[in-house]
């Protein structure tokens, strides 16, 4: 510890010290304020791991049970904290195992720096043991990547990596470092990167665009807002709240935007998209002005593009110019960080209340409640539903927990029904739809927000995709709460088979192990319930537990998620059954 503080002081005085590339790598991480990193060691990254050993008081390394677990944990950490998540792995399979998480981070704009070891530079291209061309493999799924072959490149490259990962629209960066670069020597001096000449992270705000948008908003009689994760990433929750409260505009969230506005806000109209709420989907095709804020018109949000909000003018608040007109043609594009653009537009907006228009949303909600929600929350017969479980979690956590969900039916139910009071409370794999995301991401989320309750809600399919990370829970004692909603099916695929493939259940039925025994094997307090009468007590027991806790809820086997916009249909053709 003493040496760390000493060398840090030397660096800040601007003097340099000669150290190994591996040590330089660790020092770069410390300079960037990293104190937690997820990874898995192996041959080509051993020199860096040797430095982790020496620096273990300053930099905590979490050993996951698979590199995919490491990268998802780093994502969970980044999503909950807003900081850059760091994952590290060896060359070859270690590096390729990171790819799914990197692709996930790219499509969900999560800031990550991933470091991979590489064979010695003299061996590059020789098909050496555990050599893989990870630069080529990762190129289409990274915001930036770079291969370091000399120790001297490390400080500048790492500074650039962190700057690129977190600036503008965030994303994953991969740094591949050859073994000889780790062993080599470097005169270490660190300077944070603040500029890359070919890169404009945030486009300049244009006052004319702001004025044009304000004029459309003030003139609209049925305006409607859809917000996305841009609000959370841009820390613009307060600005957004002020904007909607002044303009009185009903607003709905995308899957990744959830929790940026508290669930009980009177202008919160729920979620749009394939399994979103009835009113916001239906009324997308009734509004006269659609205001998209920090979202990218994903196909799961828009349904059939040719029939999406064709009657409305479109305003798009967006940081990434490539998203403008990509899927939906806009009338006014307001480029910039939403925090800045929303602040700038606020004084130009008229104070309004759209009472009659809001009532249209509420009336449609009542229909959805009667036809769908009520039945899922208060089923008259049959087994436990996923919705009941979520409702019980809401009651016990009072909307204060971070909910990490996996991918599939349970994800949609959790997204539809979870209540949130705080931002950064809903973490899920959106764009890529990565099963196996939730367990490791929940571990990362708990470490990124240790003061908060973190509940992972996972299906029985996704749970088994990274079930090995129970080992990470065991070793780190991270007190995550794990709820597996077990319907013994790959439920979402089964639902599609039922609806669109005449009920031919091809490979969706699961013969599952005894999850409780498995979790107990990892030293995690576990319980299984299948009766309605035990639900609330079990959730209470889980939340009250100071340590990690595993709860399996046996739910109705063939429950379907509704409402639903079938693929290729218009948002207004949303089905209630």
């Amino acid at each position: 510890m003493e040496t760390i503080t000493k060398t840090k002081q030397e660096v800040s005085k601007g003097t340099t010290v000669k150290i190994s590339g591996a040590e330089a790598m660790v020092r770069c991480l410390l300079e960037e304020g990293v104190d937690l990193i997820y990874g898995y060691p192996g041959g080509a990254i051993m020199p860096v791991y040797d430095e982790f050993y020496k620096y273990k008081d300053a930099l905590h390394h979490v050993l996951t049970r698979h590199e995919q677990g490491a990268v998802h944990a780093a994502q969970g950490y980044a999503r909950v904290s807003g900081k850059v998540g760091v994952a590290i792995a060896t060359s070859g399979p270690g590096a390729t195992n990171l790819i799914t998480g990197i692709a996930d981070a790219q499509i969900d704009s999560t800031p990550l720096v991933c470091v991979t070891g590489q064979v010695g530079s003299h061996l590059l291209g020789s098909d050496a043991f555990q050599e893989t061309d990870i630069i080529s493999i990762s190129t289409p799924v990274t915001k930036w990547n770079y291969q370091i072959t000399k120790a001297s490149e490390i400080p500048e490259t790492m500074a650039k990596a962190f700057y690129i990962a977190k600036s503008g629209r965030p994303g994953p960066v991969l740094i591949d470092i050859t073994k000889d670069a780790q062993f080599g020597e470097v005169d270490f001096a660190y300077k944070k990167c603040e500029k890359v000449r070919s890169y404009t992270p945030v486009p300049e705000m244009d006052k004319a665009e702001i004025a044009a948008a304000a004029s459309l908003i003030n003139k609209a009689s049925k305006p409607f807002i859809v917000w996305g994760q841009g609000l959370t990433i841009g820390n613009a929750e307060e600005e957004f709240k002020a904007f909607i409260e002044k303009s009185g505009i009903p607003s709905a969230s995308t899957l990744l935007g959830l929790s940026a506005l508290s669930s009980d806000h009177e202008l919160h109209m729920g979620m749009v998209g394939m399994h979103g709420n009835y009113a916001p989907n239906k009324l997308t095709n009734e509004c006269d002005l659609l205001i998209a804020v920090g979202m990218r018109f994903d196909d799961r949000v828009t349904g059939k593009l040719e029939a999406y909000a064709k009657q409305a003018k479109i305003i798009h608040f967006e940081i990434d110019p490539a998203e403008v007109d990509k899927n939906v043609k806009t009338d006014v594009a307001v480029l910039g960080n939403v925090k800045d653009t929303l602040s700038a537009i606020l004084p130009l907006i008229d104070k309004k209340e759209h009472t009659a228009w809001l009532k249209e949303f509420r009336d449609l909600y009542d229909i959805e409640f009667k036809e769908v929600i009520d039945e899922q929350f208060h089923p008259k017969s049959g087994g436990l539903t996923m919705a009941e479980t979520i409702e019980s979690i809401n009651k016990v956590t009072k909307g204060e927990a971070v909910i990490v969900s996996d991918v599939g039916q349970h994800q949609m139910i959790a997204s539809r029904y979870c209540k949130f009071n705080k931002t950064r409370s809903k973490i899920t794999s959106g764009g890529l739809g990565t099963m196996g995301f939730a367990l490791p991401a929940a571990i990362g989320a708990k470490m990124g927000a240790p003061e908060r309750e973190v509940v992972a809600v996972i299906g029985d399919g996704g749970f088994q995709m990274n079930i090995q990370e129970l080992g990470t829970v065991l070793q780190t004692k991270a007190p995550v709460k794990i709820v597996v909603l077990n319907n013994q099916f790959l439920g979402m695929v089964r639902q599609w088979q039922e609806l669109f493939f005449d009920g031919r259940y091809a490979s969706t039925e699961m013969t599952n192990p005894d999850f409780v025994m498995i979790a107990q094997g990892y030293g995690i307090k576990s319980r299984k319930i299948s009766e309605r009468k035990d639900l609330n007590a079990a959730i209470e027991e889980m939340i009250a537990c100071k340590d990690s806790y595993f709860l399996e809820v046996a739910v109705e086997m063939e429950e379907n998620v509704f409402p639903m916009i079938p693929t290729g249909s218009s948002v207004s053709d949303i089905r209630l059954k």
Partner: protein, 174 residues
């Protein structure tokens, strides 16, 4: 929307791996690259890509957006054939004996505005720069007599409009 030939000009940092990164943008969208040339530009350490594609304007706009998003890309433009001055180069390797046996070959060379760059007892090499159709025409004429080797470069192009790359770079650094 109708497909058209677009010349995409990209100014980038001169970095390893960037060619791959740009190529994947086309591959991801299943767009065929008709020709690709990478060279230095008028600015030190700045490379220039010239990529020719046959797609709709809507598609080319989106592709430009994705290209410009890349960290090491300074600026990307697209132009129609009318908006730029462009040409390709081609080399033809031909048996020397044909020069004497087939008198018509001399006329073809003369009329095509091509140059003989080297002559040896066995073969001579003809260089031709110009529009694709001109090179195609010469190829057709010569192929009747037999071509030993043929190669054609990608398109190179300059635009009628100014690009202002130095200005962009200056602005970014301030």
């Amino acid at each position: 929307m109708k497909n058209e030939k677009y010349t995409i000009s990209i100014y980038t940092e001169n970095n390893l791996g960037l060619l791959n990164r740009i190529a994947t943008i086309f591959l991801k969208r299943h767009i065929n690259i008709e020709s690709l040339t990478v060279s230095s530009s008028e600015i030190e350490n700045v490379s220039r890509f010239i990529i020719v594609v046959d797609i709709s304007e809507e598609q080319v706009k989106k592709v430009i957006g994705q290209i410009e998003k890349q960290v090491e890309v300074i600026k990307a433009y697209y132009h129609t054939n009318d908006e730029c001055i462009f040409l390709q180069s081609a080399l033809f390797k031909i048996k020397s004996s044909l020069l004497f046996e087939e008198r018509q070959i001399q006329n073809i060379i003369k009329n095509s505005n091509s140059q003989i760059v080297t002559v040896s007892p066995e073969f001579f090499v003809l260089a031709k720069s110009g529009r694709r159709e001109e090179i195609d025409k010469l190829y057709e004429e010569l192929s009747f007599y037999g071509i030993m080797q043929f190669v054609r470069s990608g398109r190179i192009s300059v635009t009628k409009d100014e690009m202002k790359i130095s200005e962009i770079l200056r602005k970014q650094l301030n």
